[in-house]
Symmetry: C3
């Protein structure tokens, strides 16, 4: 019986990224849907759970993606509501790679600093990846400054994260220029930049002036990158005492985590692979 | 040469149900389209018939689905109009499982009662499945009461069915409450409930009070089911003298019929697998 | 690692034609998108180039199709803009079969006439295929009359072609009736009819009256065909001294060219298979 992954994407066009990774994770048949909402997903979930016997349902699974984390969360919630009794399949949500990228980045950082004692900053912290990075750092006990162009949105993201974890400490900050972001980074041991493609937070030459910074990770692979001094391919390279990771440097781990998470979907028919479970997979991948 | 099934779904999102069954029926490549109408299907049919030589066209086939039977019928008709000479592929229509579910249910009933002499009732009879159930019962010679909330729609469905068969007898009935439906079921030997998800026709305890009823089949798998006294998994279980089938109990046969019908599409390039042929497959599946 | 082809179709529904050919060309996973524009393609290109390592990117490729050549060209241009450095995949554009059909037709004609000295006419010359036919004929040095119902559109197509080649000679002509088209065909050695389905340029009996015509090719497979005296299946058959090809007669070569071009996409990660390269493939296919 073939392994079928059903991709529910909340964007109009289903992500090619998630499709390629699914194929490379061993999925044999991939059903991809764009434009998925909590309103239109129920019939598709019923089709998934009523076509194979309970003992075989572990061969069907659901992946929720898209660029909007809140939309993905709402779809995953509806998917779970549509299950009942043994009629269910395993599901994961990784809208815009929020979980796998964030997990890979935080797991990478954990190799170099004690996350439970670190002062961290997350420029681009209200985006899909940034919010999960901040959540995982907080769950490890870090003090996290979450930065956005809008302090209101930063504060709102912090509040959402505080609802998921009792550890760590979250501070919202607003910055509309590269200079303001650089000033906020001063004194932080860990920087994880999680902005949109083309947004530069730290211009060339700025990184070496941040004396306290031990680890800097830039998750933007599309030039101009988020931290100009870090090449997209860099992986734990040291520049002036700062251990640096570029998006593609983290991307290798992220890819393995993403593939591993998709593979795990087919081990049972009732798993929900969430942020915490994906982070656990990332720690395993880095340790292996 | 790979077996390609082209799924034309009249709903915006192509059914996962039909996709999973296609994969499990041995289809090697599945091209799924949502939002198909008679107006936009022609180019897709031409692409199907002009890409492989006539001798190889049996490796390409068309499946028409979606929740709306009339829309599916219109698409199938257009598909057939777009063929010419040897440039054609086999096609089947099973909008909302109307043909396969109805065929499986009526074939199940036929094991227990003489359909040519039975008094049957079909609550939810104007829906995609219900209409085919009533049609197949009539084609076997049964007296069928087709029930809907709207007597006008019930009458309209009966007239459509009368145009397809000269045997049997069809009576339209309207019922807006569970009590009205229960009253109509009184005196009927065979009940096949074919309502929408969540519509309960016979409440708990009602089935045992229908003294004449020999067989009761509920085709709704999503709770609340259509006949409260029948579990979705039941298959020919007897309760108080009534042989009962739930949706999943019929579903096993339906699935085999659906898979078998899809497989048959690839035996030639000119088959049209319609309600009557699917019922023939169902009788074979039950006999084997 | 599986060969993935990503199909970007500018029509609302991705072409079944291109999908079947992709499967028959050995593509192992086909990701099909309809409704693609330069505005929505970038995220999908990033997903294609950021999921596999540079050394493995030759296993992913992009195919741009749809019925509108200008729209396909705009998408291909955007796709190429979205690549950077080694992060790229091979790509081809064949909107409405413009390149493969035109290449197959012109390569077929080249077997029978000296294209560098021929007087050619292309009824339906502003359509997706006709424009490429005229372009390839001109690139071989032919004198080409490009015919459309609108002389303005014919002139505009000629100007676009003149920008791509310095050889040959292009003349625009308008014709709104079959008689006008027949008059224009008088004195031409080579006719390649490239009209839309159902448009007849030369009515029955007209072909034998064109004394100078040596080769006539009709690229319309859907009756009524473009040249009534040519059967769709004909392949180099002679009628009254005219060597004739119907759409399916050319179609065999077109199919091989299309499949070969798709196969070639997976030989490297940086090929752009354009009109000229596809014509080179067509000459190879015909020679072999």
């Amino acid at each position: 019986m073939k392994k079928i992954l059903i991709q529910f994407d909340t964007d109009p066009l289903a992500s090619t990224f998630d499709r390629v990774v699914a194929v490379d994770a061993g999925v044999e048949e991939l059903f991809s849907y764009g434009g998925i909402t909590p309103e239109n997903v129920t019939g598709l979930v019923h089709g998934a759970i009523f076509t194979r016997g309970p003992a075989q349902l572990k061969n069907t699974a659901i992946f929720v993606g898209g660029s909007n984390v809140a939309a993905g969360e709402a779809v995953l919630k509806q998917v779970q509501n549509d299950f009942f009794g043994p009629m269910r399949v395993s599901a994961m949500m990784d809208s815009n790679g929020c979980n796998t990228t964030a997990a890979a980045a935080v797991a990478a950082a954990k190799q170099h600093v004690d996350l439970s004692a670190v002062e961290a900053i997350v420029p681009g912290g209200t985006g899909p990846v940034g919010q999960r990075v901040a959540q995982l750092l907080a769950s490890e006990g870090a003090s996290v400054t979450l930065v956005s162009r809008s302090i209101e949105r930063a504060e709102s993201a912090c509040e959402a994260i505080r609802a998921t974890t009792e550890t760590g400490q979250l501070t919202a900050a607003g910055a509309t220029t590269a200079d303001e972001t650089a000033a906020l980074c001063n004194g932080k041991s860990l920087i994880i930049a999680a902005g949109a493609a083309g947004v530069c937070f730290l211009e060339a030459g700025k990184l070496s002036k941040l004396d306290e910074t031990q680890v800097a990770i830039d998750l933007n692979a599309v030039p101009p990158v988020g931290i100009a001094d870090i090449g997209a391919q860099e992986k734990a390279n040291e520049h002036d005492g700062v251990i640096c990771y570029g998006a593609l440097g983290v991307g290798g781990t992220k890819m393995k985590v993403h593939r591993q998470a998709v593979s795990q979907l087919f081990e049972s028919n009732d798993a929900v692979i969430d942020t915490a479970e994906i982070y656990r997979i990332a720690l395993d991948v880095i340790a292996s």
